[in-house]
């Protein structure tokens, strides 16, 4: 399998790929932005270390607000800071922010179109051991339904840094979805990133996979394995879920006929739904949505739990074969 040269990817099957969690990319980029922009402030709800906002807090203690275990307060205090001219970044576990403070985000941040950026960390089954209560599988749905909100689900450490920088440049709220576990970094500083623009990572004719977040990598591994079995599978990274790139999706649908969406999220309300809504408008084709089948997760190592629910390279291969067979 050959990846799209314009994407400047590292070979995804290389065992030497470095690994890092996307939350670390968020924390690193936040410090970079903090150095450039004195109006940037950060808040956390007693998880600054977990969500990697601690780096900013140590570097800029006067611009960090520790709200304690109080996600609702974090959102509304951030809004007040934004009304007074600051650019607040808030971070917590996604089950609680935006899970618990959705109405504060709706009223005080989105209705106000306030310049508040939200890091939802520890998303999906990837969280693993902590179990169902801590595995955010509905956060994209919650955020995607809000006017003014930009929702980004970056695929690796490098892309998360780009997403944080890109979000800083757009006024208004944005939600960036981050994972707990270290995953392979397969994009490079040269890989393009623009909010709202889908990245076609490898071309294909037989079927198209549209993924977001850490499962983009698994989709690439699946496409690679399937290419040696004679199947030509396109893989696209649709990181901006709030405004799916409809022109790029239409082209993909026309070329491949069937689209498979892959996400570490419930199958209702997230990336899969966004792709269905978009294609229903521009070029309706069959869409098979892979994700959590409207269930709650359980404890185990992240990869094990994801594997159990089909969210893995092998799970994707199985579904691709089913869909190719169905096309014939």
């Amino acid at each position: 399998m050959k990846t799209n040269p314009e994407m400047h990817l590292l070979d995804p099957v290389l065992p030497s790929l470095s690994k890092a969690a996307t939350r670390n990319g968020f924390g690193t980029a936040l410090v970079e932005i903090g150095e450039k922009d004195a109006s940037v402030v950060a808040l956390s709800a007693d998880v600054s270390c977990s969500v990697q906002i601690e780096k900013f807090a140590k570097k800029f203690p006067g611009r960090f607000v520790q709200v304690g275990v109080a996600e609702q307060n974090m959102a509304a205090v951030a809004a007040g800071l934004a009304y007074a001219g600051k650019k607040p970044y808030i971070g917590a576990f996604a089950v609680f922010s935006p899970g618990r403070n959705w109405e504060q985000i709706r009223t005080t941040i989105c209705y106000a179109n306030a310049d508040v950026k939200i890091e939802g960390s520890h998303v999906g089954l990837d969280v693993g051991e902590d179990g169902a209560t801590h595995q955010a599988l509905e956060d994209v749905s919650l955020m995607r339904s809000l006017p003014n909100m930009t929702v980004i689900s970056p695929c690796d450490y490098e892309e998360t840094k780009k997403a944080v920088h890109a979000a800083w440049k757009i006024p208004g709220p944005a939600y960036i979805r981050c994972t707990r576990n270290a995953t392979a970094t397969f994009t490079t500083p040269e890989t393009p990133f623009a909010i709202g623009r889908m990245n076609l990572l490898c071309e294909g004719r037989d079927i198209a996979i549209v993924a977001a977040g850490r499962l983009v990598y698994d989709a690439l591994l699946a496409a690679d394995a399937l290419s040696s079995q004679g199947l030509s599978v396109a893989v696209a990274n649709l990181h901006t879920i709030s405004s799916p790139d409809s022109a790029a999706l239409e082209k993909l649908a026309r070329e491949c006929g069937t689209v498979i969406t892959v996400e570490d999220h419930q199958v209702k309300g997230g990336l899969g739904s966004a792709v269905c809504e978009t294609l229903a408008d521009v070029y309706p084709v069959r869409v098979r949505r892979m994700g959590m089948e409207m269930k709650f997760g359980e404890s185990g190592r992240g990869n094990e739990v994801m594997g159990k629910y089909g969210l893995s390279k092998d799970g994707i291969i199985k579904v691709v074969k089913e869909e190719v067979a169905r096309k014939k």
Partner: protein, 282 residues
Amino acid sequence: MKLQSACELALMANSMRADVIRMLVPAASGHTAGPLGMADVFSVLFFHEMKYNAAQPKWEGRDRFVLSNGHICPILYSAMARAGFFPLEELMTLRKLGSRLQGHPSMHKLPGIESSSGPLGEGLAIACGMALSGKMDKAEWRVYCATSDGEHQEGSTWEAVMLAAKYKLDNLVAICDRNYIQIDGGTEEVMPLSDMAEKYRAFGWHAIEVDGHDYAALMRALDEARAMKGKPTMIIAKTVPGKGVKMFENNYKWHGVAPKPEEAEKALAELGEERKKLEAGQ
């Protein structure tokens, strides 16, 4: 405009009470008791205490005012109109399609509104964010937050209370409309709030209890808040809901209902009588 005497402030409050009644009739929905009960507090805040420039609502040196219990906005709109933010006639557009005077305040519709509000339990947190920003920038301006007793049943209010004490937000003063009513009845029956000043003191605030219709006491409390260092101040203003119109006073049924034209006529007559007395005593 800076009013100093109790009589001037009372005349302003009387005018605002009449505005509220006149606005609510064509709106045919909205809240009556809260706006009337807080008229004296708004008179002191807008015409004695706060610094602002109605011609330049975004003037950087202004004090920030957050109305947390957004449903009492008729009194805010009246105060803003009388302060010169917009023409008095516009008050009659309250809650109408296309109006800048939304049913709950909208910061995007009406210049001078610092924060949209209505969902209870959020305003104090927003005010804390503003006050934190002021502290970071060592700004001179202060933050005023009007809140209600009922919204202290929202847990999120207490999250903000803790944060304000932790960050020693002495540039923040909150005024609570302690009128003992809410939609379903009396606050002490629906969910007792008991001694709110003691609760605030336990949370590390400076708390003052005043009669919310006593101008001298309100002005003294606001002076005390300005002098307080290292602590935010909560002024518990005990008010009579529906104050100024006998048939509305102390009746929780007037929390969320607008007067009908014949009720408004009686109310305006009563306010007119009160005005004559005030003018005679001036």
